[in-house]
C-alpha cells in the first residue's frame, strides 16, 4: 500500500502544510483579475496600463499624452505597448511596481484614484509570463535631462518578488521629457465589438477630456482622440478615515499602533471630523478617561469606544479626497465623441456609504446621430464609469444598471419594458467617483449594490432625464403651434361651406372675421394651458 492510501495522522498532515504565495494564488485564480478569456485579457492589459498612465500624469499635474498600440505578432499573440508623458518611475521602484503583486501607493490611503490595490499591472505581467513566457519591458525616464531606464521583468511566482532579466540605461526610447513605456506580449484575442479596446479608449476619452490619446489597432488603423480642454480636473486630497466607517478590528489595530499619547489626541489625529469637543463627547459616552493611553484599553473598553464613536454627532467626511470630472468637462467630453442634438450633465454633491465619500455624475445625450437607430427601437446605451475608468463587462451585476433600469422612463418620454433599460436615441452616462469604489470583484467590472449609491445614481440620472424631457417637449411645442394656425384656416371655410350646402342656403358669408376671432381666442387659451402643464 502506498503512503497516500493510508489513513493519515495529524503528523502526516502537518508535513503537507505550506504557505502559498499571493502570486501563485492569482496565477491559479486569474479570472478574478479580468483574465478569464483571451479577448478580455487583451482588454485588461490595455486598461491597466492606460489607467496607470492617467493616474501618474494627474498626480504629477501633467496633461496626459498617451499612445496605445496593439500589434498582432502571430495568431492569438499580441504585443501591447503603452507610452505616456507622466513623471516616470525611479529606477529602484520599477521592478516592484511591475513585478510584485499587492505593491503600490494607492491601497493604504483614502483618496480617489483609478488603481486601488496594486495588483493590475503586475497581474498583466504575470499573465504575459504565464501565456507566452515573455518578460515585460519597461522604459522609464524620470528626469527631463536624464537617461532612460530599461528593465526586462518577470515575477518569481513562488516568492512574489520581481526577477530582473536585464537592466540597461539608454539615451532614447521615451518621446516626452519624462514618461513611462510598457510593452507586454500576451496570448489574447482581438475583437471589434462592444468589448473592444477601441470602445474602451473612446469611453476613456469621454470622461478624461483633458487627455490626448492615440490608438493604433492590430488592423493598422490609427485613431486620434484629441484633448477637449487644457485643464485637469480637481486633484483629490488624501483624507483620514471617518469614525462612522471604521470597524472594531481596525480600531483595535489603530489603538495599538498609534503614536498619540492619549485617547483624545488619538481620536483627533487619526480620524477626520473629530475635534477636541467631539473627542471629549466620545470619551464621555464610552466612559473612558480622555487621558488614557490608547494601548491600555481593555477589549470591553475598545468596544464601548467604537459604539461611542458611531453614536456621536459628527460632520460628514471631507470630500476633497474626491475628484469628479465636473459638469462642464463631462459635457465637453461627451460632445467631442458623440454627435447628439442635446447633451446635459450633472455632478451631484458628495455623499457617503459605509463612512466612505463618493460622488455621482451623470449625463444624457439625446437625438442627432443617435436617431439613426430609432426605428429599430433599440435600447439606450448605458456607459458606466468608476473613478474615470469605463466599465465594459458585467452590466447586469452592476448597481449602475440596476439604478438606471429602476427609473420609470415612461415619465421622461422614453419607451421601457419591465425593469429594463429604456429604448430610444439616447446614451446615458454614469460616473461614480469614490475614495474606495466598492467593486463586486477585483477585476473591477461592476459596482456593488449599496442603497446609498443606488439612490444617488437615480437622483442624478432622473435630473438629466428631466432636462431631456423638457428639451423634447419644447421641440414638440414649437412645431405644434405653427400647425394650429393652418388647421383653423383650412377647416373653418369647410364648416361654413358644408353648413350652407346642408341647409340649402346660398348666401355669401364673410369668413375672415370668424377666423380672426378664433385664432386670437385659441392662442390665449393655449398659452395659459401650456403654463399649467409646466
Amino acid at each position: 500500500m502506498k503512503k497516500e492510501d493510508k489513513a493519515k495522522t495529524a503528523k502526516d498532515m502537518a508535513l503537507e502544510q505550506r504557505a502559498i504565495s499571493v502570486a501563485e494564488f492569482f496565477e491559479k485564480n486569474r479570472h478574478l483579475l479580468g483574465f478569464d478569456n483571451p479577448s478580455k485579457a487583451l482588454l485588461t492589459v490595455v486598461k491597466e496600463a492606460v489607467d496607470n498612465s492617467l493616474d501618474a500624469c494627474e498626480e504629477a499635474n501633467i496633461l496626459p499624452e498617451i499612445e496605445v498600440e496593439i500589434k498582432e505578432l502571430e495568431e492569438n499573440r499580441y504585443k501591447i505597448t503603452v507610452e505616456d508623458n507622466g513623471p516616470g518611475i525611479l529606477r529602484d521602484q520599477i521592478p516592484r511596481i511591475f513585478a510584485k503583486l499587492l505593491y503600490g501607493s494607492k491601497f493604504h490611503r483614502l483618496r480617489q484614484s483609478r488603481g486601488q490595490q496594486g495588483i493590475g499591472i503586475s497581474a498583466s505581467v504575470l499573465y504575459a509570463q504565464l501565456t507566452t513566457g515573455h518578460p515585460a519591458i519597461i522604459y522609464s525616464k524620470p528626469n527631463k535631462n536624464g537617461k532612460v531606464h530599461v528593465f526586462h521583468l518577470k515575477i518569481d511566482i513562488l516568492k512574489n518578488e520581481p526577477e530582473i532579466l536585464k537592466e540597461d540605461l539608454i539615451e532614447s526610447g521615451i518621446k516626452h521629457p519624462t514618461g513611462t513605456k510598457i510593452s507586454i506580449i500576451i496570448e489574447g484575442k482581438y475583437i471589434q465589438r462592444y468589448h473592444s479596446p477601441y470602445e474602451y479608449i473612446k469611453q476613456t476619452a469621454i470622461v478624461n477630456p483633458w487627455a490626448h490619446i492615440k490608438y493604433k489597432s492590430p488592423t493598422g488603423e490609427v485613431f486620434d482622440f484629441p484633448r477637449a480642454v487644457n485643464k485637469l480636473s480637481k486633484r483629490p486630497k488624501e483624507i483620514k478615515p471617518h469614525p462612522y466607517g471604521v470597524e472594531l478590528g481596525i480600531l483595535i489595530r489603530m489603538l495599538k499602533s498609534t503614536k498619540s499619547r492619549n485617547i483624545s489626541a488619538f481620536l483627533q489625529n487619526e480620524f477626520s471630523r473629530v475635534g477636541a469637543n467631539s473627542a471629549e463627547e466620545i470619551c464621555r459616552l464610552a466612559g473612558i478617561d480622555l487621558t488614557r493611553k490608547p494601548q491600555s484599553l481593555t477589549h470591553e473598553e475598545q468596544e464601548k469606544l467604537l459604539k461611542a464613536m458611531q453614536r456621536v454627532k459628527l460632520m460628514r467626511p471631507p470630500t476633497d479626497c474626491l475628484s469628479p470630472i465636473g459638469e462642464e468637462l463631462l459635457r465637453e467630453g461627451l460632445s467631442k465623441e458623440i454627435n447628439a442634438e442635446f447633451i446635459t450633465t450633472i455632478t451631484r454633491d458628495p455623499s457617503v456609504y459605509r463612512g466612505i465619500p463618493f460622488q455621482i455624475e451623470a449625463g444624457i445625450a439625446y437625438g442627432g446621430e443617435l436617431k439613426k437607430n430609432e426605428e429599430t427601437g433599440e435600447q439606450a446605451k448605458l456607459m458606466r464609469f468608476a473613478n474615470k475608468i469605463p466599465l465594459l463587462y458585467d452590466p447586469s451585476g452592476c448597481a449602475i444598471t440596476k439604478a438606471v433600469s429602476s427609473i420609470r422612463w415612461r415619465r421622461y418620454g422614453l419607451e421601457q419594458s419591465g425593469n429594463a433599460l429604456p429604448r430610444g436615441p439616447v446614451i446615458i452616462l454614469v460616473h461614480i467617483a469614490s475614495a474606495w469604489v466598492p467593486y463586486t470583484s477585483e477585476s473591477k467590472e461592476a459596482i456593488a449594490n449599496y442603497p446609498e449609491i443606488i439612490k444617488e445614481i437615480k437622483l442624478a440620472v432622473q435630473e438629466c432625464a428631466r432636462r431631456m424631457l423638457m428639451y423634447i417637449r419644447k421641440q414638440t411645442r414649437v412645431k405644434r403651434e405653427t400647425q394650429r394656425l393652418s388647421i383653423f384656416e383650412n377647416y373653418i371655410p369647410l364648416i361654413i361651406e358644408n353648413a350652407k350646402e346642408l341647409a340649402g342656403i346660398k348666401t355669401k358669408i364673410d369668413i375672415q372675421p370668424i377666423i380672426e376671432k378664433v385664432v386670437k381666442k385659441d392662442l390665449v387659451a393655449h398659452e395659459s394651458k401650456g403654463k399649467e402643464n409646466n
Binding site: L494, L502, T507
Partner: protein, 362 residues
C-alpha cells in the same frame, strides 16, 4: 318609409346646417350642441326600464382646434345623408360611408372608420332618429317566419307584398323589412330565438302553429333591424314577445338588449326597445332542473355576471337577479340545443309550453 317621414328627416338634418349658417352670418364663431353620449349622461329610466340619454350636451365649436375638423366632417356627412334620403332608394353602410369620404378630399376624408361611426351616432343623437332613417344601414341579419303579411318596396323600388311563411329558409330582416307595412298578422305572440339551430327546430316542429306565433331568428345578438321589427309587432299589433336564448349571462343579455336596449344606443333606445318582452330561458334554474349538459363558467363569464348584477336593468327585476345569483352558485352554462338530449320534439312539446305557462301566469 312614407313621404311624410322622409320630409321630417330631411328637415331635421337641414336644421343642423341652418344653425351654423345663422351664427356665421352674425360673425359669431359657430358651434353645435350635441346630446352627450358619454356614460355620465346615460341614465336608467325606471319607467321604460331602459337606458335613455340625459340632458347634458357637448359643444362642438369652430373655435376649438380639436373640433374644427370633425365639425366640418359632420356637416358633410349630414349633407350626404340628406341626399340619400332625397333619393329614397339609396342606402349605404357605415363602412361604405367611410370609403365614400375619400371622394371628399384630403381634408374631409376619414382616416379611420371609428371617426365616421362616431359622427353618425352624433347625428342620430342630435336629430333623435336611428341612422336607418337617414339611410345608413347595418348589415342584414336575423330572419322571420310565420303567418305575417308585409308590404314594402323591394331594393329596386318595386312595391311588393309577401307572407312570411312563403320562404324556404327564412326572410332576412334588413332595413326595408323592419319598416315594412304590416298588412296582416294572424299570430298571437312573437317568439325570438337566439340560435339558427333551435330556430330551425321550431320551424320544423311547426311551433308557429302550435303557439300561434311569429318566429324570429336572432342569430346571436339581435341586429337593430330585428329589434325594430320586434318592437313594431309588439307596439302596432300588441303581440307579447318571448325570448329564448342560450343559458348563460350572454344569452340573458341578448334578451335584455331587446327588452331595454343597450347603453351604447341610449340615444335611440326608445325606437328599438320592447320593455314588455319576456325572457323564457334557458335559465340557470333550467340548467339544474333539466340536468343539461353544461360547461364551466369561465372567469370572463363570472366577471360578466358581477357586472350585470350592478346594472339597474337587472336590479329592477327580481327574477333576473335571482337567476344571476343561481349562475354564480352553480357556475355552469348550457346552450339551448342541450335540451335536445330529450329528443327532437321535447323542446317544443314539453319545455317551451311549460315555460310559457309559467311566464303567462306571472
Amino acid at each position: 318609409m312614407k313621404v311624410k317621414e322622409k320630409k321630417i328627416i330631411k328637415k331635421k338634418l337641414e336644421e343642423i346646417g341652418k344653425s351654423v349658417v345663422e351664427q356665421a352670418k352674425n360673425h359669431k364663431v359657430p358651434y353645435l350642441r350635441i346630446p352627450s353620449r358619454t356614460t355620465n349622461n346615460i341614465v336608467f329610466d325606471p319607467k321604460s326600464l331602459c337606458y335613455v340619454i340625459g340632458n347634458k350636451t357637448i359643444m362642438r365649436s369652430a373655435g376649438n382646434i380639436r373640433h374644427v375638423k370633425p365639425m366640418a366632417q359632420m356637416l358633410k356627412v349630414a349633407s350626404f345623408c340628406k341626399d340619400l334620403v332625397e333619393e329614397e332608394l339609396k342606402h349605404e353602410t357605415k363602412r361604405g360611408l367611410y370609403y365614400i369620404s375619400e371622394s371628399w378630399g384630403e381634408k374631409l376624408k376619414f382616416d379611420e372608420q371609428p371617426e365616421s361611426d362616431n359622427i353618425i351616432e352624433d347625428i342620430e343623437a342630435m336629430i333623435g332618429e336611428p341612422r336607418e332613417n337617414f339611410h345608413i344601414i347595418p348589415n342584414p341579419g336575423g330572419a322571420v317566419y310565420g303567418d305575417l303579411t308585409l308590404k314594402f318596396k323591394n331594393p329596386s323600388g318595386k312595391m311588393m307584398k309577401i307572407n312570411c311563411l312563403q320562404t324556404a329558409d327564412g326572410q332576412t330582416i334588413g332595413p326595408r323589412m323592419s319598416e315594412a307595412e304590416i298588412v296582416e298578422c294572424n299570430a298571437k305572440r312573437v317568439i325570438a330565438i337566439e340560435t339558427s339551430g333551435m330556430y330551425n327546430r321550431f320551424m320544423e316542429e311547426n311551433a308557429h302553429k302550435k303557439f300561434n306565433a311569429i318566429l324570429v331568428n336572432l342569430e346571436g345578438q339581435a341586429t337593430r333591424a330585428t329589434r325594430r321589427l320586434i318592437k313594431r309587432l309588439n307596439e302596432i299589433k300588441k303581440l307579447p314577445v318571448y325570448i329564448f336564448t342560450d343559458g348563460d349571462p350572454w344569452g340573458l343579455h341578448i334578451a335584455m338588449v331587446i327588452m331595454a336596449g343597450s347603453a351604447k344606443s341610449a340615444h335611440i333606445n326608445k325606437m328599438l326597445a320592447t320593455p314588455s318582452a319576456k325572457w323564457i330561458g334557458v335559465t340557470a334554474t333550467d340548467i339544474k332542473k333539466y340536468k343539461l349538459r353544461s360547461d364551466k363558467l369561465k372567469d370572463v363569464d363570472l366577471k360578466r355576471i358581477k357586472e350585470l348584477k350592478k346594472d339597474p336593468r337587472y336590479r329592477s327585476d327580481k327574477r333576473l337577479l335571482e337567476e344571476l345569483k343561481t349562475w354564480e352558485e352553480i357556475k355552469k352554462k348550457a346552450e339551448q340545443q342541450a335540451l335536445l338530449k330529450y329528443g327532437l320534439r321535447y323542446v317544443v312539446d314539453e319545455y317551451f309550453p311549460a315555460k310559457l305557462k309559467e311566464m303567462e301566469k306571472k
